[in-house]
Amino acid sequence: MQTLSNLRRFIQDSFRLMIQGNNYYYLWVAFLLLLILAGGVAYTSQLRHGLIVSHMRDQVSWGFYIGNFTFLVGVAAAAIMLVIPAYIYDWEPIKEITLLGELLAISALVMCLGFVMVDIGRPDRFWHIIPLVGRLNFPQSLLAWDVIVLNLYLLLNWFVVTYLLYCSYTGRHYVKALVLPLVLFSIPAAVSIHSVTAFLYNGIAARPFWNSAILAPKFLASAFCSGPAILLVLLQVLRKTTRLAIKDEAIFKIAELMAYTMGFNLFLTAAEVFKEFYSGTEHLVFIQYLFFGLKGHNALVPFAWASVATGLVAFLLFLIPQTRKKWLTLNLGCALIYTSVYIEKGMGLIIPGLTPDALGEIFEYTPSTVEVFVAAGIFAIGFLVFTLMLKVAVPIMLGEFTLNRGVLPNVE
């Protein structure tokens, strides 16, 4: 009974924290709500008319939605980048950051599931994919695998975070025998969500651009850059706006790890480029379309080169200690990495996979206004979820929000 009333109070107090804040907070939340509203309006039109309001067609049957989905699975997987050093090597400065990484993973997964939902033609038949209730084609379909691992990973992260925060809130120490195995399990789980997502494309022999064994390692390498890039910026914001103390040392260490993974990612790209151009088979057309355009169609070309260039510059900025340890160049590097991976893992992966199409037609795809608005709405939902979770989590982490004392008056 005591537990139940504690839990009720926890939920009530958390809710109170979420609806209180300074003007910046309200402005930010209002901005997100506005984007969600715009996305909702766009999605309503898509529901009414069908996916014909997108610019996808039979030739390019996946586009902006699935590109964003793929990128965000990487962001979700990247949470382990922080879990590994924190728990395995017991490296203290990163430990408190891990929780934030897991919150980011939850938000990214919410967005992932949102992008899948808006991409399917019959959202009313969503239940067909629920195991036992519907008919999941497991283990044949990699999409069935993805449904399972993504939801498991979401559940896992959600449970660990909620449990740790709740223990902190009630002032009890968490049960290590429960948490440690779960956290350790989350490491292979994170690797698996991203590998499975890579295999989803990798296993399709009909699309030579995806049918390459390098895809899964490349997915992991690029995810380990992009996820932390978001976190590094966030950590600096939290340091400024809350009393959360995050050591410079931790930030620089993460940036160093990112330099290595970005270097590896660039190497894998180079390996792929070499193989395609040197062997020069008829499969070359896809990477040609990406980097040079085909028969006058070159919508992706500037983005493809921008992705390589930003990745390279960011790699150097993070590799050289002087620029890594300077806030201006560090943050510039984060922005460049984000840009690079967003292009590479999003449109830069999906579109050349489908262009030219299976019968050689070049159908040039660019997202429609509806697609852009719906995507903006989903990103806003993700950021809103993240913001609200942080609003509760940070005061708990700081000991400013506990069962006994409630919310300290000066916490906004």
């Binding site: 309503t44 898509q46 529901l47 009414r48 008319h49 069908g50 996916l51 014909i52 309001v53 997108s54 996808m56 067609r57 039979d58 030739q59 049957s61 996946w62 899948v116 991409d119 399917i120 033609g121 019959r122 959202p123 009313d124 038949r125 969503f126 067909h128 994919i129 519907g134 008919r135 999941l136 084609n137 044949q140 379909s141 990699l142 999409l143 069935a144 449904v147 989803l200 296993g203 399709i204 022999a205 009909a206 699309r207 008829e282 057309v285 996979g353 489908l354 030219p356 199409d357 299976a358 019968l359 050689g360 037609e361 159908f363």
Partner: protein, 309 residues
Amino acid sequence: MNPEKPLKPISECTPCASSDSRRLFLGTAAAAVAGALTGCGKLSMDEFLQHNFRELSKAEIQHVIARLEKEYQEKYGKAVQVGVDPALQGVIFGYALDLSRCIGCRRCVHACVKENNQSREPEVQWIRVLQMDKEEGVNIHHADPYYAPDRVPEEGHFYMPVQCQQCKKPPCVKVCPVGATWQEKDGIVVVDYNWCIGCRYCMAACPYGARHFNWGEPTLPVEELNTATHYLGNRPRQKGVVEKCTFCIQRTRKGLYPACVEICPTGSRKFGNLMDPKSEIRYVLENKRVFLFKEDLNTQPKFFYFYGV
């Protein structure tokens, strides 16, 4: 011969008319929510809860067919028969297409559309005829599906119609997350339009561009509706689901030729039972120079291309 028109270029497609005017009373809240989700207020509880076709009992199938026939009657004002003929014993269908005879007239494309009740706007076609350069041979990167001269065949070109290859190892079936598409005993790969969730993974997996999606609400003029249908074949489709060639399952399981075979003015198209040693298709396979499209992918098509002359 004068060729029929190709598929309209993509840019001319427009969103379909809104289905607002068709709002009907909804039985239950669940169906109402689902109806709102699809933007089509017609979804009945029965339709919403219908299970995968392969899991339905005989009684359930009868119930579903009765419901569908009633719905089509209401929608088109015409009696539509929805058949469920199973695969014939000892039959595996095979198809052969003579590249040396095809003149690219696209009669097959339009006969297929009429027979199989494809949406006219947005336009869906299951057969795609590729005009290829004789100099290049079979090379999809030198193919033009939108050729539209006054007369065909054109000098220096040959024509390669592509439709579902009815693979023995269909990649589209393997990837479907909900088992909405499968291979029947007679080798035909079918789709349960009432179970497909519209994720389009099968379209990405198909090496032949044979799968087509209903991007908008399919439109089908009542006077052009073919009322002899099959549940797994040419019954009218819905928005948001995938469809494909079924070797005219509604005809071939009754012993008829597919519509494309029947219409072909040059006799380029051969169809029959691969299990029957005396069939024409077996004769072609045993005596002609045959090749498989994208053979390296090991999809093992039951659609063969050959050079008759």
